[in-house]
């Protein structure tokens, strides 16, 4: 009511003002409405559904009925009392932590190598070749790892050619970690490379001139200066691996369970919306806690 009366006052004042001024004022006002349609879309079709899902997670589940309107904590209680779902969460956290650590270990040398290339064309080609797989889609990239790790896949063929016996790699947790690491590595490389690009090479030269070896320079100079990128890349990889779907489903096989496929099954196959919603919020909460904890751990390690 207050807002409505003040806006009518403002328009009254505009009518009283000179013609050009009121037109200019209206145009400036209209300019600030330009993001409105996009904001409306995101609010209506993402934020409102998320709010609705939060509400659903406190609803009582009765088969055949979408919503009962009850308010209960039973879905969260079910999660914390059922060992199966805790193991699923445990697997998800474990796979995510190992994957993120592997991504970091592999991305550090690769992004440092790319950031210190003197050849501009080679550098931009390598960057493109890192970004391209990222945008090929998880379905296609996971297909690639099935070809690599299958019983008659590339890796087993090499094993056999070298005289070892073929072994089952696909449908093991190890395979999931390998596949996920490869899927998420580009995010870490791009993040680290852009930060390392900004590190002044003279600082490294100074360290080398003062007698530090290349490895010491990397560990004591480059890594501490790349810390913002390391934190950002770690957070990104943790979020994406906690929520991974295609890799656990295809490479992990039907007996391997992670959170994202479990949520999908609950919401669609089981049609248990309240429990599926609760699982989604447990996953988001644990992901946030994990990202904050890992940022703190990395910050402490770098301060030492």
């Amino acid at each position: 009511m207050g807002a409505a009366s003040s806006s009518s006052l403002a328009s009254g004042a505009a009518v009283g003002a000179s013609r050009t001024r009121s037109a200019a004022g209206r145009r400036v006002g209209a300019e600030y409405l330009m993001p409105a349609p996009g904001m409306l879309l995101v609010a209506l079709f993402l934020l409102l559904p998320l709010a609705l899902m939060l509400r659903f997670s406190f609803d009582h589940f009765s088969p055949g009925e979408l919503l009962t309107g009850a308010f209960t904590f039973e879905n969260y209680q079910k999660f914390f009392s059922d060992g199966f779902y805790q193991r699923v969460l445990g697997t998800t956290v474990f796979v995510s932590l190992v994957t993120t650590a592997l991504c970091l270990v592999m991305a550090l040398p690769l992004s440092y190598y790319i950031s210190r290339l003197d050849h501009p064309r080679l550098k931009s080609t390598l960057i493109i070749l890192v970004v391209l797989p990222l945008l090929m889609g998880n379905a296609v990239r996971t297909a690639g790892w099935m070809v690599m790790l299958g019983d008659r896949g590339v890796v087993n063929s090499i094993f056999v050619a070298l005289g070892f016996s073929a072994r089952t790699i696909l449908y093991t947790p190890t395979a999931v970690i390998i596949g996920l690491t490869s899927v998420l590595l580009p995010f870490m490389v791009i993040t680290l490379q852009s930060v390392m690009e900004g590190i002044d090479r003279r600082i490294e030269e100074a360290a080398l001139n003062l007698g530090a070896g290349p490895l010491t320079t990397f560990m004591k100079v480059v890594i501490p200066l790349a810390m913002p990128g390391i934190v950002a890349g770690t957070v990104l990889c943790l979020i994406l691996s906690m929520n991974a779907y295609a890799t656990p489903v295809l490479i992990g096989g039907p007996k391997f369970h992670m959170m994202a496929p479990t949520i999908y099954d609950q919401v669609t196959q089981g049609a248990n919306w309240p429990f599926g919603s609760a699982l989604a919020f447990v996953l988001m909460t644990v992901t946030v806690i994990l990202t904050i904890a890992s940022s703190l751990v990395i910050a402490r390690m770098s301060n030492r």
């Binding site: 993001p35 659903f56 440092y112």
Partner: protein
């Protein structure tokens, strides 16, 4: 003598470092290379090395209804989502990229928020919302083209914004002032000065949004229906049962399509800057 050995040691270190970096690089690229390779294998059961080569699997891939329909649906959804994201994102970027005002970062934060919501969580939420919507209004949204298109527009908007804002922020305000001083009004300035300068970014944003929509798997999982699946979902459901050269041919088609779009986009605006 000791200087020489020290130097050769350095060189050895540098070579082994390059080797390590390239090995990690191979870990990234090799799976995709192998998919393309297998797509041309003559033998139906994937085993290495191949017995010969053929291009028959590509014909086979297009003959499978779920792949052909999925490809066509994905093309339609992505084109519509990309255009909608431009229609919503360009006006927003014109304000955010060129003006400083209170609440600017809040608006940007809201428009970028689809990036931080995980696909599975967002997909589940939108799916339940669409079903509730259907119960309330009797208008079906889940498992329809408009429903898919709306959801894909939501995830394409942040990418459009990133590319457009980055381009408009670097636009020299003197250009606009000069145009206005020379007597052009705001609209003429917008269409004759600002948008032409931002054209490369618009092309890149359109292509990147298309790709983001085309490859989406997690969000679409909830929103497709029987006889109405996108290509990535058709690929995943096929892979749950079989891995053969046909599926590798389908994947190769997607790799070639996406790869060429990204390379074109990269000619306009460096796509690595969008991350």
């Amino acid at each position: 003598m000791s200087v020489l050995s020290d130097r050769s040691l350095r060189r050895l270190g540098r070579w082994s470092f390059s080797g390590l970096a390239l090995a990690i690089f191979a870990f990234l690229i090799l799976p995709l290379v192998c998919v393309i390779w297998v797509a041309f294998f003559a033998n139906k059961i994937v085993s290495f090395p191949p017995e010969g080569y053929t291009i028959d699997w590509f014909k086979n891939a297009l003959a499978v209804a779920s792949f052909r329909d999925g490809f066509l649906l994905s093309l339609r959804v992505s084109a519509l989502a990309s255009l909608s994201a431009l229609a919503l994102g360009i006006p927003a970027a014109l304000l955010i990229g060129r003006r400083q005002f209170p609440g600017r970062s809040a608006i940007m934060g809201l428009l970028m928020s689809p990036l931080v919501v995980p696909g599975i969580v967002g997909g589940a939420a939108i799916y339940m919302f669409f079903i509730e919507w259907e119960v309330a209004t009797e208008i079906q949204m889940a498992a329809t083209l408009p429903g898919l298109m709306i959801a894909h527009t939501v995830i394409a908007v942040p990418w459009t914004m990133r590319v457009m804002v980055a381009s408009l922020v670097s636009l020299d305000p003197a250009l606009e002032e000069a145009s206005m001083n020379l007597g052009a009004n705001r609209w003429v300035t917008l269409f004759k000065v600002v948008l032409p300068v931002a054209r490369p970014a618009i092309v890149a944003a359109a292509l990147l949004s298309f790709v983001i929509s085309f490859i989406d798997l997690e969000l679409s999982l909830f929103l497709v229906g029987p006889g109405r699946t996108t290509l990535p979902i058709a690929i995943v459901s096929y892979l749950q049962w079989t891995l053969d050269p046909t599926i590798c041919a389908v994947a190769t088609i997607q790799i070639v399509l996406i790869g060429s779009m990204l390379l074109i986009a990269d000619r306009f605006v460096s796509i690595s800057k969008a991350f």
